[in-house]
Each structure stands twice: as C-alpha cells, then as structure tokens.
C-alpha cells in the first residue's frame, strides 16, 4: 500500500515506470530505425500487466473473487502455455465477464525480428494485454518479461536474443472481452514499423 495522503501528490515516478518511459522515449527518438531495446534479456521490462495487477492489489480489487480469478487466469496461462510454432495465427473469443487468458510457448527465433500483431474487437472498446516472456532454461526461474503493450490493436516488434523459449500471453483487461486475434512472425530483417506501437 502507498502511504495515505491528505491531498493528492504527483505520483512517485518509480524506477520501473521511469525505465519504461525511457524505453518509450528511445523508441520515439529512434523513429523509423526501430527499437530493439526490449529484446535484451538482461534488461527485463516491467509489463503493463504487472502494473495493472499492482493497481488491483493496491485498491483491494484483487481480493474480490472476480479480481482473483482474473489474476489466476493470467498466471495459469503463463504456466500452462500451449505449444506454438512460427508463424502463428490464432483467434478466439473471450467473454467480458469471464476471467480468461491465452498463451503460446514457442522456440526463440534467435537473432531474428519477432513481430506480434494482436487486436481485440468487442461490443465495447477494450484493451488487450499483449506480452512476450522469455522462459529461463531452469524451470525454477520465473519467466522474464521482454515486451509488453496494452491496447485495442498492438504491434510489438523486436530482435530476439538468446535461445530460451518464448511465451506470448494475451488477456483482455477486466470487464472487457470480445474477439481477439494474433499473428506472430519472425523475419531476418527489421520490419518497416518496428518498435512498440
């Protein structure tokens, strides 16, 4: 919990948020040259999903059955990701009132550019958490987040370094659902619109 305040102060810019802002800034500055900062497994990013879960915990919403189920669905999807091969295309439906997440595990396309295009279309506009994790070779180690976005329509693109398997996870934000779709491709060359959109 954050300390209680009588008035609202500017939020403490935490190290993680600053790091993420710096990543975004680098992407913007880099412009058409793309952004491979996210690809470094030595510098894991702080995914929006984790920030969102922190928010749920801070406000007590994570203790509500629906909040708990949503968090559990995300964790389970990551641990029990189905096998996938590149290129990968999938689509499906998640009801707005259900706690669900989907995930795929696939071999890392080493030194190639991985591009993830994901979208969520529902009766009400909603955002989709799109995340790519690196699975350490030691199963005892936690997955390492590599790239992340929260949007209705997302393109993540980065050069993959390292040989550990990757996991892609999709989850609509709480109270949102709809038809999701995802395309994952690997290419030798940097895509025209590389970076995080």
């Amino acid at each position: 919990m954050r300390p209680r305040r009588t008035g609202r102060m500017l939020p403490d810019p935490t190290a993680n948020r600053l790091r993420w802002a710096a990543v975004a800034l680098i992407c913007v500055v880099a412009g058409g040259s793309g952004c491979d900062v996210l690809a470094s497994s030595r510098d894991p990013i702080d995914p929006e999903h984790a920030t969102y879960v922190d928010g749920l915990r801070e406000t007590g919403l994570a203790d509500a059955p629906a909040g708990r189920a949503w968090i559990r669905a995300a964790e389970t999807a990551l641990l029990e990701a189905g096998s996938g091969t590149l290129p990968l295309h999938a689509e499906g439906w998640i009801a707005a009132d259900s706690a669900a997440a989907v995930a795929w595990r696939f071999p890392a396309p080493q030194e190639r550019w991985l591009t993830v295009r994901a979208a969520l279309a529902g009766a009400r506009p909603g955002r989709l958490f799109v995340e790519v994790y690196r699975l350490p070779s030691d199963p005892a180690d936690a997955p390492v987040p590599l790239a992340s976005a929260l949007a209705m329509d997302t393109v993540l693109s980065f050069r993959v370094r390292g040989r550990d398997d990757l996991v892609l996870r999709l989850q609509p934000e709480l109270l949102r659902g709809g038809t999701w779709s995802v395309d994952v491709t690997a290419a030798d060359d940097e895509p025209a619109h590389a970076g995080v959109r």
């Binding site: 954050r2 009588t6 008035g7 609202r8 102060m9 500017l10 939020p11 810019p13 920030t51 969102y52 922190d54 928010g55 749920l56 801070e58 406000t59 919403l61 509500a64 059955p65 629906a66 909040g67 439906w93 009801a95 009132d97 279309a121 529902g122 009766a123 009400r124 909603g126 955002r127 934000e173 709480l174 109270l175 949102r176 709809g178 038809t179």
Partner: protein, 427 residues
C-alpha cells in the same frame, strides 16, 4: 495525462514552478471522489473498470425513474458496480432520508440534476438531504467495483419540522397558507391549528427564542430562530408565553399555550404558525407527514440479478406504473436489475432499461422450444449477425432455446456456453 504533461515540462526544465504547482491537489470532497482518486492513484485511471463505473453513474441519473415519497427497491450488484438512481418529488420543508442495506457498502449521493446536494457515508449506508426548493431530488446509489449480490434502497421523504402543537396533527389545521384575509386585502401567511385553550405549543425544531412580544394582530407571539435552516418560526395568538428572549430550546420543548389573543379574539383558540425565510413559506410541507404508503417489498427479490423472459408481449415503462413506452416481444431475454413491489427493473439485450410487471415475465429454466439446424450455425455473442461468433452449433445437434430476440434464439450448448443463433434457416 495531466501528470505526465507536468512531469514532461518539469523534465525539460521549462518551468521550475510547475512541479510545485502540481504538488497539491485538494483532497477528495466526498466518498465517491475519494474512491475514484484511489483507483486513479493506483494506475487504473484509463482502465475500463473506472471508465465503466463513472459512465454508469452518469447514465443512472439520465434515466432515473420517478418514484413515490416512500419507496423501496432491491437492486442487483454487478461486477461493473452499475449505478441506479431515482427521482423523488420533494417540496421545500421536506427532508429525504435514504438507507442502503446489503451485502456490500454502497455510495449514495443526491442532486437536483446538475448540483450535488448531499452524500452518504458508505460505511453507514445512510444519507439525509434537505432540498432548499420544490422539485425533484435525484438519489443515486452505486456499489464499488467487482462486487456481487444485492442491496435494498429505502427512500423516505419526511417533514423537516415537528408539529408545533402537542398531541395534534395536520387534521387540526383549519386555515391554510394563502387563504384570503381582511376581505382579500392580504393573504394568510401561515396555518391555523385549532386546539383547546391551554394546549402546549412546542418548539418544532431546535433553535433560539429571538422575540417574545405582544402585537395587535398576533397577540402574544413568540419568534423562534432556526439558524441551521436560516428561517424564523412564528407562533401567534398564544394564551401565555413560557419562554424568554435568547433561550435555547430543543424540539418538543413547550414555548407557550394555545389561546386566541390578538385579532383572533372572536375565533376559537388556535395557533397561527408561520415560517419566514426570505418571505413567508407554506408551513404544510415542513410539518406534514408524507401520505404515500411505503412501497411493499417484492414478493420474490430472489429474481434480482437473474434473467427472465417476457411471458407475453408487453411494453417497457420508464418507472414503476409509468406510461408504457417501448414494446418488447414475447420471449425476450431480460436481466433483472431490481425489484420493487410487483415491478421488476430490467435490461433488454439491446441495452434498454425500464420496468415491467413481474407477472409479465417467466423463468428461463424451461426451454421455449428446441432448435435443430440441418447445417452448422454460428453461435453469436449477441442477437446480431455482426456480433462475434463464440461457438458453432453443429448440424444435427439440437439445442434448447430459452429466449428470443427478433429472428435470433438464445440457446445453451451442451458444454454450457450460451449464445444466439439465427433461426431463419435453422429448422
């Protein structure tokens, strides 16, 4: 966004004072605002959760049904923390007491449609508001996010003042505000309450005795200052005055005794009771108990939060007992948002909300019919061909139909999933 901009400006060194200016934001002024602030500060400012919660609060006010002055409704709590609101007719001099009881705490507030007039404390589940004019008070209730269950709202309009003559009531009022006096030369600026000589005249509220005097018209009179409401209460024609200037009194304290002094010498003993606040006010709403009978509780509030279907074609009404305005076909699926007396507050599949008689609906436990397509049918998330497909009803596999919407049937598949199939080519 505001914070990001301010931070950016600061980072660029555009203005050293920006951070200082942004440091302090007034604390939340009410429980609702505090709740929203908590979510924003936790990084959920642009979440669907918060957007839905705020939107629902606005929508509730826009569609608030008009209800009686003694009203009860059992309301469903959903994950989005959907708000409900009620328009209550009120007159100056009345107060509105609202109570919310249930499985979760509920945010209560009241407004005149544009201005907020009061808030309830969520933990207490109660709110009391005294509108300053005639019109409608909009009472709104909203549970926090991700709750489930139901709560009961009780809205009661009561007079703000006690009756000024002991052991008497509104039936003893013999002349009302606005009656002609002096052959029509002036209006009666109060009410006359007839009672035997010597009946105690009591303080209608807590206040300070501001004047004790004898005048030609009022005879022995007492003025009581009600500072909380910025008004003065006038007691006239007393047989005797039992208080003195400056005395603090509590509701029910005896001020004097009923008589017929002043220009009432030729009439039976009575109290002339007047209220002045920027001119004379009609005292009746200030002292008259509300005549509306309390809304009976619904016979089956267990329906709240469930789904039913229309038993025979009917029309949605904007309020319980209001004029029907939106036709609904037989078999339409309805989500029950609330229940009051014999009425259900329902939402149709296309998002309309209104009231129907509970007797006009039926359970969806028993299917209406069965659909058995001779070709694969897409099962949609909503009764529309453009709604996302969530499953397929395979050719030759039947499914029970529990409700209808136009040419769509609401089916439950063998795996428990529910959705809509078009029935034009199903059979």
């Amino acid at each position: 966004m505001r914070r990001v901009l301010l931070l950016s400006l600061f980072a660029l060194g555009a203005c050293d004072d920006v951070e200082e200016l942004a440091e302090w934001v007034p604390p939340p002024s009410n429980p609702r605002e505090a709740y929203v602030r908590t979510l924003e500060d936790a990084g959920l400012a642009s979440s669907a959760l918060l957007a839905d919660w705020v939107r629902s609060a606005d929508q509730a006010i826009a569609r608030a049904p008009t209800v009686t002055q003694s009203f009860r409704e059992t309301v469903a709590i959903d994950l989005a923390g959907s708000a409900q609101a009620w328009q209550v007719p009120v007159r100056r001099g009345q107060r509105v007491v609202v109570r919310a009881e249930g499985s979760n705490h509920v945010f209560l507030d009241a407004s005149d449609g544009s201005r907020t007039l009061g808030y309830g404390e969520p933990d207490a589940g109660t709110m009391e508001v005294e509108p300053r004019g005639d019109g409608f008070l909009i009472v709104r209730a909203q549970p926090p996010l991700l709750g489930t269950g139901r709560y009961r709202v009780t809205i009661q309009v009561l007079p703000t003042l006690g009756f000024p003559v002991a052991d008497h009531g509104i039936a003893d009022v013999g002349s009302v505000f606005g009656d002609p006096r002096d052959g029509g030369a002036r209006d009666h600026h109060g009410i006359d309450i007839f009672a035997p000589r010597g009946t105690p005249v009591v303080a209608a509220t807590a206040g300070t005795v501001s004047r004790v005097q004898v005048t030609a018209r009022g005879g022995k009179v007492i003025w009581l200052r009600d500072a909380r409401r910025a008004q003065n209460l006038y007691y006239a024609h007393l047989d005797s005055q039992l208080v003195s200037n400056g005395m603090r009194v509590q509701p029910g304290d005896t001020l004097g005794l009923v008589g017929n002094t002043g220009n009432a010498r030729t009439t039976p003993p009575h109290l002339h009771f007047g209220i002045y606040s920027r001119g004379p006010q009609d005292p009746v709403p200030f002292v008259l108990p509300v005549r509306d009978r309390p809304t009976p509780l619904p016979p089956d509030s267990g329906l709240v939060g469930t789904r039913v279907r229309v038993a025979s074609a009917l029309e949605l009404r904007p309020s319980p007992g209001g004029e029907p305005d939106t036709p609904i076909e037989r078999g339409t699926l309805l989500r029950v948002e609330g229940a009051t007396a014999s009425w259900l507050r329902v939402t149709t599949p296309d998002g309309n909300q209104g009231f129907v008689r509970a007797s006009e609906t039926e359970s969806i436990e028993r299917p209406l019919e069965r659909v058995a397509p001779d070709q694969d049918l897409p099962v949609h998330a909503a009764p529309s061909a453009s709604a996302p497909t969530i499953a397929t009803l395979a050719a030759g596999r039947g499914a029970p139909v529990y409700a209808r919407s136009g040419s769509f049937a609401f089916v439950r598949l063998e795996d428990g999933r529910e959705g809509w199939v078009t029935t034009t080519s199903a059979n």
